[in-house]
Symmetry: C2
């Protein structure tokens, strides 16, 4: 059964309506205790002030999105991207977010070589482990939908995420973020989640709308699409996950246009009835 104590509102769900302070306060006003932070919003407020607002409101930062985009074929660019990722880890530590979502990066149009991009991502990831370990932040590899493989993430399946975890061999630091929207179509989802097991560091909930109109910003509220979210939750819990359930709905045409308190109210309701 869904437990509101585990529900976290992801900034993406109220991205257009609330800045970070407003979102934290709105989450507290709704009687919830977890909020998942988007890095651009954190930069606006500053990590120190954000930590203070979170503490004051009694809200836990359940995660920080995101670090990554490290697949450049240019070595200088790739090194810069790694430095930037390390800064994101520092920010997560500052607001006591347990993990950072890792978005690999896309295919470099200069070499059009998806295998090479994947190899570079794993190689870069391994270089990020020591710093993350040193400051006590975990790296949550998020397999993303194949439709954003070209420009955003060459990590397209949970099977591949498991393979990357195997490759970097840093189970104390590197795990997986499971996102219903990104993974629901996968014929090998069940095996992938079972194999991930304790590697699962985050669980992101939203739904897939049949009439999806955009590749990134048209996610659906739980219950409005075709994902079997109750079954999905069962798989993740069977794998041993007991952490936060983060509701992450990028929705330019619908939820971003609504009153954010109302959006959070609907999230709470659907969390209980549709997941």
């Amino acid at each position: 059964m869904p437990d509101l104590k585990r529900l976290s509102i992801h900034q993406a769900t109220v991205m257009q309506q609330w800045n970070l302070r407003q979102a934290i306060e709105g989450t507290a006003r709704a009687g919830l205790s977890g909020f998942s932070v988007w890095r651009d919003k954190l930069a606006e407020l500053g990590t120190k002030e954000a930590a203070k607002v979170l503490d004051g409101a009694g809200i836990a930062a359940t995660g920080l999105s995101f670090a990554g985009l490290i697949t450049s074929a240019d070595k200088g660019e790739a090194a810069k991207a790694l430095d930037e990722a390390r800064r994101v880890f520092d920010e997560a530590a500052a607001i006591k977010a347990p993990s950072v979502v890792f978005v690999a990066g896309g295919v470099d149009p200069r070499d059009k070589d998806i295998k090479a991009a994947r190899a570079r991502a794993v190689e870069g990831l391994a270089k990020l482990v020591p710093h993350a370990r040193a400051i006590g932040v975990k790296i949550a590899l998020e397999p993303l939908h194949p439709m954003i493989c070209a420009h955003r993430s060459v990590l397209s399946t949970i099977k591949l995420a498991n393979e990357w975890c195997d490759a970097v061999a840093a189970e104390d630091v590197v795990g997986i973020a499971v996102d219903t929207y990104a993974l629901w179509w996968d014929p090998e989802l069940e095996q992938g989640i079972a194999r991930a097991g304790k590697r699962i560091l985050a669980f992101h909930l939203s739904d897939w709308l049949v009439d999806t109109q955009d590749l990134r910003l048209d996610r659906g509220m739980m219950g409005d699409g075709v994902i079997d979210l109750k079954g999905f939750r069962r798989m993740v819990e069977k794998a041993g996950y007991t952490g936060w359930d983060e509701v992450e709905i990028f929705s330019a045409r619908n939820w971003w246009k609504r009153d954010p308190d109302e959006v959070v109210r609907v999230v709470k309701e659907r969390y209980e009835t549709a997941t």
Copy 2:
């Protein structure tokens, strides 16, 4: 090396500019000898007249798109969809198209059960085999991109296509259509194509644009995107494929707005330089 003798223009590439008669004549005018037919356009012209136009122009119908959409949870609807698919096979036979592209169908919003949808697709497919066999038409299962899984096709990977081929056990009738745009992102593409081997009945070429703006109608001309099309062709040929290379570019914002003779000219050029 690409051989223009194997190049087929798919109706989708000139969907907005040419009806079937015009497209066949335009293909012949370009010195090519293959054309892949879209069913709605065939219905406009009629199969008898289409067969006559193809013969007169010296153009082979290399395939017919499509039959399928048989995943309904309603038994009556599913039976009707199977009858409709058999009619498509008859149409293919009438224009001497060797195979029909099979598009499975999506997830039924009434049960939101993707596993059940996949099971129904395989079950329905098996029922289609006898008629296809009787009239000498092959069924080319086309794994489509996961982004159209909900409303169009639950067959999302070449691995799953191979499993469906195994399940129906009708190698003389059921094979696979390999589409670069649908499959390029798959971490297990190479194994899947190798395993498909002689099952490959069709090869569809187009490119993935980094700034893709639509889930169905924004494919790129070969060379304009990030797919390693030369490597892809090598994989398919290594698997033993010697059939037609069908260029299928749904492109509402670009190629459908251009002079169709010019589009075909660019297709010929890119076929030779970028694939």
